[in-house]
Symmetry: C2
Subunit: 171 residues, 2 copies
DNA sequence: TTTTGTTATGTTATATTATAACATTATATC
DNA sequence: GATATAATGTTATAATATAACATAACAAAA
């Protein structure tokens, strides 16, 4: 089944972050920042210093990060950082799809592919805390299928699968 | 496909709550309370007055209810209600699976079938606020399938699909 | 049936997450 | 440069949740 193979390929790519040294995270960050610059430029959105910095901080790891964690760091960098400082930046980034909010953690994580609008779907490791964004046609079909059957029109979807990543199971 | 038909049947049942006069909610509550009594008895858990009352309040509707909403009601009934009063009761009910927590709303809703352990999966209407618990083999398979492919072992799953229910679309 | 251990609740305080409201500053457009 | 708009600064507070320790209720043992 062609779709199955493609899903698996995407999956392997998206879970690379679970492995120690499984990927070059410096590149991860660079790529995310470049994408953000381009996307903002295309959309006529202003990626200000503050917003850029918050995005950078969110991308420091693949572990979702809380607003007040970000605020603590910002406070060391700008004398005036307050909750609205970080929440406004997060709102901006959320609106553009540059980050996702993990509802079950009250935390924020960078988005893999902000160019195209898509649901928020994650595998989240209890041990290492990393969150891997997943895109899977089976899952998409299952959800749109059951919504159709129910006559329910979808506006937003949240899928958060919590467990143990392959790396943390090994240990 | 046999499974598809069964899914649809379950779905029709579980979304009945979206329809005005689509079901007898008094029975809903009675059934939930009976199930709770039985389940607690079987598990040797103490369904105290407080816990029973909180469960009753949660079941007053199919709209997920916030902890402080519950607290406001409790305060009218017992002089000493405080946040821990309601959070402890909620924790007890969550642990037994008698209620679910809706992460995207910070709110709580009664569980359809607390007898068997199952993931938290909901269709949530933006307009009327009702949350319909869904169980769907396609969805189950999609999620366990992709977790398997990723070598990820699932501990807990949250699926929250937000949108418009059939009844609210009509209006 | 007192004793004793355990579970549940009361009580006070505080932590964590998020927003409201209004003032000021920076940026873009005319 | 004047003006409108968007972004940030600033103060205060709302909303959600937990910590910590005291008392009360309950259940099993002695
Ligand atoms: Zn990375
Ligand atoms: Zn891990
Ligand atoms: Zn009902
Ligand atoms: Zn509705």
């Amino acid at each position: 089944m062609q779709v199955g193979i493609q899903n698996r390929r995407q999956l392997v790519e998206s879970i690379a972050l679970f492995k120690k040294d499984g990927h070059n995270h410096g590149r991860c960050i660079d790529s995310a920042m470049n994408t953000a610059v381009n996307l903002c430029s295309r959309r006529g959105a202003r990626l200000t210093d503050l917003r850029r910095r918050v995005l950078e901080l969110v991308w420091q790891s693949h572990q979702p990060v809380g607003a007040y964690e970000l605020l603590d760091i910002l406070k060391d960098e700008r004398r005036n950082a307050q909750p609205p400082t970080v929440y406004r930046a997060l709102d901006f980034l959320l609106e553009l799809g540059l980050i996702h909010r993990i509802e079950s953690l009250n935390a924020y994580v960078g988005c893999n592919s902000p160019d195209t609008s898509h649901p928020s779907q994650f595998l989240i490791c209890r041990d290492c805390g990393a969150a891997a964004e997943i895109s899977d046609t089976r899952l998409d079909r299952a959800i749109s299928g059951l919504a159709d059957d129910a006559g329910f029109s979808i506006v937003r979807r949240t899928v958060e699968v919590e467990g143990q990543c392959p790396n943390c199971q090994a240990g």
